[in-house]
């Protein structure tokens, strides 16, 4: 397998293709995407609201299960080194088991740190301060796993890289788009779903922290679709477009100057 090279559409562009022949069919390396989709779908299917595992009755237990599923999913991908995009520093696939375990530990620690930061953020935004700590933390953990862990796995562990990927308006590479898309979709949706909390509908799902986590999950799903579109499908479509144009052009040239084409050949 070729080492996964990140073809940055905007910055590298022409150089890369002239430097080495374009082996791949697409401008992007979508490695891992199948497992990712499959993992997401299975997690959702297996952790559907059921009698014995009900988010309404016991959100902490439920969120623990979802967090475990999500975490083990990331852990497997990290261990196998097959996450869709990998941080450029860890571009080379970890060869030794020790290196793989280190990668998993780094992922876990960073996720935990992120979830602590998110917990504080939730409290600042109005989560109960004196009670329901477990709920808040589990919500934060799930949000971190959904929104931040992709960035942890994709971006270099430097503040500058994170700033560029997540909050700058500079043109971004595909892995950066991937991280930023999942990050913002998760948190914006979670933010927006907070509007359901004060409504007087008196539904069981309005209980803290269900709207927030629910929003995070739905937003993450939508974000996943978006980043798939943006990071995989759009480059494919562009490639397709360019290729179609080129084919037509070739054909026109062939038809208009058959002799020249033959000669060239």
């Amino acid at each position: 397998m070729k080492s996964s090279s990140h073809t940055d559409a905007a910055s590298e562009g022409g150089n890369s293709s002239s430097r080495l022949p374009d082996h791949k069919l697409y401008p992007i390396d979508a490695n891992g995407i199948e497992l990712m989709l499959g993992g997401m779908a299975s997690a959702m299917a297996l952790v559907s609201p059921r009698k014995n595992l009900n988010i309404y009755d016991n959100p902490v237990k439920y969120l623990t299960v979802t967090a475990t599923v999500l975490f083990s999913y990331y852990a497997i991908l990290t261990f196998a080194g097959i996450y869709c995009f990998k941080a450029p520093t860890s571009r080379r696939k970890p060869t030794s088991t020790g290196a793989r375990i280190t990668a998993v530990i780094y992922m876990g620690t960073a996720t935990l740190a992120a979830s602590l930061a998110i917990s504080i953020g939730l409290v600042l935004f109005g989560a109960p301060f004196a009670s329901q700590h477990a709920e808040t933390f589990m919500a934060a953990l799930n949000m971190a796993l959904l929104g931040v862990t992709p960035a942890i796995l994709t971006l270099n562990p430097s503040a500058e890289a994170w700033r560029k990927a997540l909050i700058s308006g500079e043109p971004k590479s595909v892995p950066e788009l991937w991280a930023a898309g999942l990050f913002w979709s998760t948190f914006v949706a979670s933010w927006a779903s907070a509007y359901f909390v004060p409504l007087d509908w008196d539904r069981p799902w309005q209980k803290w922290p269900i709207p927030i986590v629910g929003g995070a999950f739905l937003g993450n799903l939508a974000g996943l679709l978006y980043v798939l579109l943006r990071c995989f499908i759009l480059p494919l479509a562009r490639a397709d477009y360019a290729e179609t144009e080129r084919t037509k052009r070739d054909m026109v040239r062939e038809l208009s100057e058959p002799s020249a084409a033959k000669k060239e050949m």
Partner: protein, 1403 residues
């Protein structure tokens, strides 16, 4: 120019006010009521009497039911909640005793919103549903237009129809409502909320003397103290129980007096009747002691009836909770009206909607009671008729007819009024039947009357709201026009030419501000989000601050903003308001109940902080040539300063000398060229200012301490306290006035400071590295900011005072260093300077950075709620509106009420003004007016949307309890806050939306260029050595058929080539028994899942489908790959064993596929791409049918697995022996599975197979393998993560080259011979394969390369590399093949080409 814009702004605002006036006129109308007073002549004919000639006149003379009582005592206790009387914590033991022994009857009386006194009194006396406007007029005391002089009411009836003498003592609202009604009165004003003792003493002193007289018939006592305690300290205040006891004593006294009198009177005069005593509340209070809203607590008040003839159920239970049943025995408050009218034998007031209380009529005989109900129902039917003129009166004959009338009224498809009329008729008919023929029971008739009255009440209370829709729409149109004009004005600027310009299309709002506005306007549509508006502002303040954290460029900046967020979290926890969480614990509760000492410490600390802040501010602004100030101002890097601090302890004299030296040097630098004499005066005026503000804040502290006994809470003895407060007057009202006076003096001093600052000139110097410029405007704004604090402290509740310290801290944190208040260093900060350049630093994300003004705008709104206000009338705080006022004065009280309720927004408005002056650009007229216009635009948008909301939702359930109060608050914000404070106060109000325009840098590279750059033409010109063909792909639309190649399939030749170079690959040949274990595991998983879904989780439906797709589909496709392995004999040693591995793997697929797959797959390898021989090729009709339509391709992919069977059948071959075995085996297995797993298990497997071989990543390899994604390449590999699960099926080039290598070793081939595989195109994602295939216009079922058998064989013969000439010959020979096979291009193809050429040329 700016002056003209200001004029336009004022003109627009005036227009807006006109629109607002129109709207209010239409939305809050005076209610129409039936004019005139009811008389005995209106009484209906007694239906139980015989019909005497049908003459109405004769019948009205029929004798009425006699009055049961002569005299009435109404004791109204303001805000008497039901649990104050019935609850187990009540101190009203006498009343409770009477209720227990059955000598009294009690109810929980439900009041309607608005739960404020005047509308409640109106309801209690007229029986009507109140008008919302009453709630507003309740506050404006002097209003007389709401009097009941011309509206029928109970008191008028008592006075005029039974000649009662009425006395009233207590709340003077009664006097305004009933002018000239009372014989003797003593009114007390209800608005001195602070007084809880005197108001009641004023009433109680009349009780005994007045009742003991004999010249009264009706006496009303209205007690206010309980309500005042609620307002001041809440229902759980320690004052509450003593007050209840006091009220209880009054009940006891009064009732005993009238009982004794009654006995005497009735002994004297046989015709005399007893006295009725009623204890009631006008409304109740919520958990913090306010009222006005619609919550359960606010509306649950009390009726207690005492007197002879009143008999309730005596309670055997003497326990504390015995009366708790009464807490839920609910009647409507207006039921009092007909009940009393009937008991006293007077006509029921005309507009009444209440029903007589059944329990109080129990002492009458059945016929009397029915007659009373008839009278009552007749009155209510009169209201129905007035309300809906189409309803016909019920004629006598109709009522008296014996035919029975309708039995069931609910099924009639009539209007509500029709149904009501029917119900009334039914009741009358039943009554008549009962009276004449004695059929039915009185109870049944009674129930029919009540049924009618209940429905009538419900219908009428809903229908009683007359809006003037025309006026509302006019108002709305005017407000809309004003909004548009404001928007245009906001858009316009100097550069665009006109004052109002629509030319500037680019929106002058930043992204967060726009989002804020849109979200806010959307939230106005939701009743809960209006009730919980504080949550909106808290949430958005944090959001804005969080955005500032994210987009900040300096770590210090971010840290300070995080600190602000933390502070704001504390602020938000201070007062819990709204509806949903209103009872939750908050800091206010904590400070008021268990930690009062802490509260007072915080209050004192706040006053200290304010004084320190003022001092620091002046130190910073114009320090004056004083030693301490100069010493602090010294540059820390100056050697004198450093030396000084070092030597201070050792040598104080030396230090002083050095400081003096430095001071002189400093002053020379600082004030060179400045008017030093002016400077001295300035420093003096600043000192005066500080002293005055200090004294004012101290007085405010004394006021709060004295009024709330704070010094006692702090443990200060009385002597110490009196010595502390010797310098302020003893009288509290005078202390308050002193604060006002001092603030006025501070204002004067501030003006003087500003004057002298202007005279001295701008102080210009440099501190450290950055330039510093303190302008006069900045100084004035900051002076104002701290100077107004004492008044705000005075007008706040003590627990809210520390909030102002937090506000101050938050404001300070907006600046990069804490120098404004806590440090003397530079003011205009690095961060501030940077703020202007954010777009350079932060890229286009600069548009996401909210300005300080936006943050402060949010804070202004949030602080309103943080101080405990909400959008309910209940939370309007009246307790501080009378601070220092001795006589009621509308203007002053209104102003104070506004200042006390809007203290937070007022302060933040000034803070925003200061921000405007402090920012880098400084305060220019243009910025000021822009900000002003922006804020007014915000208000206009809100008002417009709110007007639309209340118009559309005018029949909504919450219109009176939620939307109307919100509208009133909006008017409060608009009129009170913005118009008065902003426009009239000149340019003081400048907070809001002005926002630096940050332009987005245009993207440099265009999409087209990117695509161009990404894809360079690749040319494969030789088959050797990688055996890529010369052919172009078959392009749908241009070609009709798959591309014909003149060569054989490439793999066999490539294999030879590779083996030449890497003979070691042959060592990889063999088989891998691991596949067997994987097969077993896979089969077990599938069977296990089938069992789980078939037998255990039988109610998991959609989950089963999802699992069947994700898990089942994956394993099914894996089985397909196991088939592939056994086909090539790669699982076990012998063919037979391999065949059985296949059969075993076949079990979960249910359909016999393994052996057929083997047969056809081997053909595929032999005849790859040979037209008519390769079963992997799509059939001709598939290609035609599917074409290039994405939708068709999508569905084609879904059934792709099924298509394989069709292609096999198309070969029309006989079934082989092993295929038959396979059939038998599969059928046997299927039966077993059915027995073992049940039908649902089988269903799971079927879904797994169908979905798995459909649009599933695991099935995408069918497309990936041979569909032509590139010119010249026939087979494609997939190097992605799917290979881990799907047994390296992606290594397809390798597999076709070396079919004898088992899957585990395929990657090894690529590793050993990279030069052959690295140049081949490959896939990295199966999802992308599927996506590309569906969406790409270059891919369709025809995207294959095919060859004729002849060509295949011909090419196979010469295994050598063809020369270019040979290749060209073959290329030209291709056309002959095509012609021969009659698949060649026809005219339409030529046309398609011509079209595409024309198109390409056009482009």
């Amino acid at each position: 120019m700016q002056g003209r814009r200001l004029c336009v702004l004022v003109a627009i605002l005036l227009v807006e006010l006109v629109g607002l006036g129109y709207f209010i006129k239409g939305f809050f109308p005076y209610k129409k009521s039936i004019p005139g007073f009811a008389s005995r002549q209106d009484q209906p004919w007694d239906i139980s009497q015989p019909l005497s000639g049908g003459s109405t006149a004769a019948n009205t003379k029929a004798p009425d039911v006699e009055a049961q009582y002569d005299r009435l005592v109404i004791m109204l206790v303001d805000a008497l909640r039901n649990d104050f009387v019935f609850g187990n914590n009540s101190a009203m033991s006498y009343t409770q005793g009477m209720l227990r022994s059955g000598n009294a009857i009690g109810f929980t009386a439900k009041a309607l919103a608005p739960t404020v006194t005047m509308p409640r009194l109106k309801a209690l006396m007229t029986g009507t549903v109140p008008n919302f406007l009453d709630a507003v007029l309740n506050i404006a005391e002097s209003d007389t237009s709401s009097s009941l002089k011309y509206q029928d009411n109970l008191l008028w009836q008592l006075k005029n129809h039974s000649n009662k003498t009425i006395n009233m003592f207590g709340d003077d609202t009664w006097l305004r409502l009933f002018p000239d009604m009372f014989a003797r009165t003593d009114g007390t004003s209800s608005f001195f909320v602070a007084d809880t003792v005197e108001v009641d003493r004023n009433v109680t002193r009349h009780v005994r003397p007045e009742l003991e007289r004999s010249d009264w018939d009706v006496t009303i006592f209205h007690y206010l103290g309980l309500d005042h305690i609620g307002h001041l300290a809440g229902p759980n205040s320690p004052l509450m129980r003593p007050k209840q006891k006091e009220m209880d004593d009054v009940v006891k006294d009064a009732f005993e007096i009238v009982s004794a009198q009654d006995e005497e009177r009735m002994k004297r005069d046989k015709s005399a009747k007893p006295t009725l005593f009623v204890l009631l509340g006008d409304h109740a209070m919520n958990e913090i002691g306010n009222h006005g809203g619609n919550s359960q607590l606010e509306t649950s008040t009390v009726f207690v009836f005492l007197g002879q003839g009143i008999r309730g159920q005596p309670l055997a239970d003497k326990g504390k909770n015995a009366l708790s049943k009464l807490l839920t025995t609910e009647v409507s408050q207006i039921d009092l009206v007909p009940t009393l009218a009937l008991l006293f034998g007077v006509p029921i007031p005309k507009n009444n909607l209440g029903m007589p209380l059944r329990e109080l009529l129990s002492s009458y005989s059945d016929s009397e009671r029915l007659r009373m109900l008839q009278v009552s129902a007749h009155q209510m039917f009169g209201v129905v008729c007035t309300n809906d003129p189409t309803v016909r009166e019920i004629t006598l004959a109709e009522a008296a007819s014996n035919t029975g009338g309708p039995v069931n009224c609910d099924n009639e498809g009539e209007s509500t009024s029709g149904v009501l009329r029917c119900k009334y008729r039914r009741a009358l008919a039943a009554h008549r039947r009962y009276a004449v023929s004695g059929s039915g029971t009185a109870n049944k008739v009674e129930r029919k009357y009540y049924d009618f009255m209940e429905h009538a009440n419900e219908h009428l209370s809903r229908a009683f709201s007359g809006y003037d829709l025309g006026a509302m729409l006019t108002g709305m149109a005017i407000i809309g026009a004003a909004t548009i004009a404001l928007a245009a004005l906001y858009q316009s600027s100097d550069k665009s030419g006109g004052i109002i310009s629509t030319k500037a299309w680019s929106l002058r709002v930043s992204a967060p501000t726009a989002a804020l506005l849109v979200t806010y306007l959307v939230c106005l549509w939701s009743s809960s989000l209006i009730e919980e508006e504080h949550q909106f502002w808290y949430f958005w303040t944090q959001t804005i601050l969080a955005l500032r954290v994210l987009t900040s460029t300096a770590a210090g900046d971010a840290l300070r903003t995080v600190l602000q967020m933390g502070l704001f979290r504390i602020i938000r926890a201070w007062n819990q308001t709204g509806q949903k969480w209103t009872g939750e614990p908050d800091i206010r509760l904590y400070l008021n109940s268990s930690h009062t000492k802490l509260m007072w410490i915080l209050v004192v600390a706040t006053v200290l902080v304010i004084n320190v802040a003022v001092h620091r501010l002046h130190m910073y602004l114009y320090p004056g040539p004083t030693r301490s100030a100069i010493a602090r101002r010294l540059d820390t890097r100056s050697p004198a300063y450093a030396l000084g601090t070092m030597t201070y302890r050792r040598n104080a004299d030396e230090y002083k000398r050095r400081v003096a030296e430095a001071e002189r040097a400093r002053a020379a630098v600082l004030f060179s060229g400045a008017d030093t004499s002016g400077l001295r005066t300035l420093v003096l005026t600043q000192r005066v200012f500080r002293a005055v503000v200090g004294y004012a804040s101290f007085s405010a502290l004394v006021y709060q301490m004295d009024r709330n006994h704070g010094w006692r809470e702090l443990g200060v003895s009385e002597g110490v306290w009196s010595s502390v407060r010797w310098c302020v007057p003893a009288d509290l009202a005078q202390v308050a006035r002193l604060v006002y006076l001092c603030t006025a003096l501070a204002a004067v001093a501030g003006v003087a400071c500003t004057w002298y600052r202007a005279k001295v000139g701008v102080l210009e110097h440099s501190l450290g590295s950055h330039e510093f410029r303190a302008s006069v405007a900045q100084a004035a704004a900051l002076d104002l900011l701290v100077g107004m604090l004492p008044v705000l402290l005075l007008l706040s509740r003590p627990h809210n005072i520390p909030l102002f310290a937090l506000f101050l801290a938050m404001f300070v944190l907006f600046w990069s260093q804490l120098q404004v208040v806590f440090g003397p260093r530079s003011l205009t900060s690095v961060a501030d300077a940077r703020e202007g350049n954010v777009s350079d630093v932060c890229g286009c994300l600069g548009v996401l950075r909210p300005s300080k003004l936006v943050a402060q705008f949010c804070l202004a709104n949030a602080s309103f709620f943080a101080l405990g206000n909400s959008n309910s009338l209940a939370s309007l705080d009246l307790s501080n509106a009378y601070t220092g006022v001795s006589r009621y004065n509308e203007g002053v009280v209104g102003l104070l009420m506004f200042a006390s309720n809007w203290a937070g927004p007022l302060w933040w408005a000034v803070a925003a003004l200061a921000t405007l002056t402090l920012s880098k650009q400084g305060l220019t007229a243009q910025r000021a007016i822009n900000t002003l216009v922006g804020v007014h635009l915000w208000q206009a948008c809100t008002l417009l949307v709110l007007s639309i909301v209340v118009t559309l939702l005018r029949t909504h359930l919450f219109i009176w309890s939620v939307f109307s109060p919100r509208y009133l608050y909006q008017v409060g914000w608009l009129v009170g806050f913005y118009i008065i404070c902003a426009t009239c106060g000149g340019l003081l109000w400048l907070a809001g939306l002005a926002q630096a325009q940050l332009s987005m840098p245009s993207r440099v590279s265009s999409a087209a260029e990117e695509v161009e750059a990404m894809h360079k033409d690749e040319q494969f010109d030789m088959r050797f050595p990688s055996y890529l063909g010369f052919w172009k792909r078959s392009v749908p639309g241009l070609d009709e058929h798959p591309r014909f190649d003149m060569y054989d399939e490439p793999h066999k030749k490539r294999k030879q080539q590779i083996l030449n170079d890497h003979p070691e690959i042959e060592e990889l040949y063999g088989y891998d028994t691991n596949t067997v274990w994987i097969t077993m595991a896979t089969v077990c998983v599938q069977m296990g899942l089938a069992y789980v879904f078939g037998r255990i989780l039988t109610d998991w439906h959609w989950t089963m489908v999802v699992v069947a797709y994700t898990v089942g589909g994956s394993f099914s496709t894996q089985i397909g790959i196991i088939f592939h392995e056994f086909t090539h004999n790669l699982c076990a040693a012998t063919t037979l064993q391999n065949r059985w591995v296949g059969n075993f793997a076949n079990i979960p697929l249910l359909v016999p596929l393994a052996q057929s797959f083997r047969r056809y797959h081997l053909e595929h390898h032999t005849y790859q791409g040979v037209y008519g021989y390769d079963p992997d090729l799509p059939l001709e009709w598939e290609i035609k049918l599917i074409g290039n339509d994405p939708v068709k391709k999508f569905f084609w992919l879904i059934i792709y697995g099924v298509m394989y069977i069709g292609r096999g059948l198309a070969q029309q071959k006989q079934l082989s022996r092993w295929e038959l075995y396979n059939w038998a085996w599969s059928i046997a297995c299927d039966v077993a599975i059915y027995k073992f797993c049940g039908l649902r298990g089988v269903l799971y497997l079927v879904i797994s197979v169908l979905l798995g071989f459909g649009l599933h990543p695991g099935a995408a390899h069918f497309i990936q393998e041979h569909y032509t994604f590139r010119d010249g390449q026939e087979t494609y590999s997939y190097y992605g993560s799917g290979n881990y699960f799907w047994l390296n099926i992606g290594y397809h080039n390798e597999h076709h080259d070396f079919p004898l290598v088992p899957w585990t070793k395929l990657p090894e081939i690529k590793r050993l011979a990279p030069e052959y595989y690295d140049d081949l195109a490959y896939h990295t994602s199966w999802c992308a394969v599927l996506y590309m295939f569906i969406t790409s216009s270059l891919l369709a079922p025809q995207s294959r390369v095919v060859r004729t058998l002849d060509a295949h064989r011909y090419a196979r013969k010469n295994l050598k590399v063809p020369s270019i000439n040979e290749a060209k010959q073959l290329e030209s020979a291709k056309d002959e093949f095509v012609a021969r096979l009659k698949l060649a291009a026809d005219m339409s193809m030529e046309k398609a080409r011509a079209r595409s050429i024309a198109k390409a040329k056009q482009q």
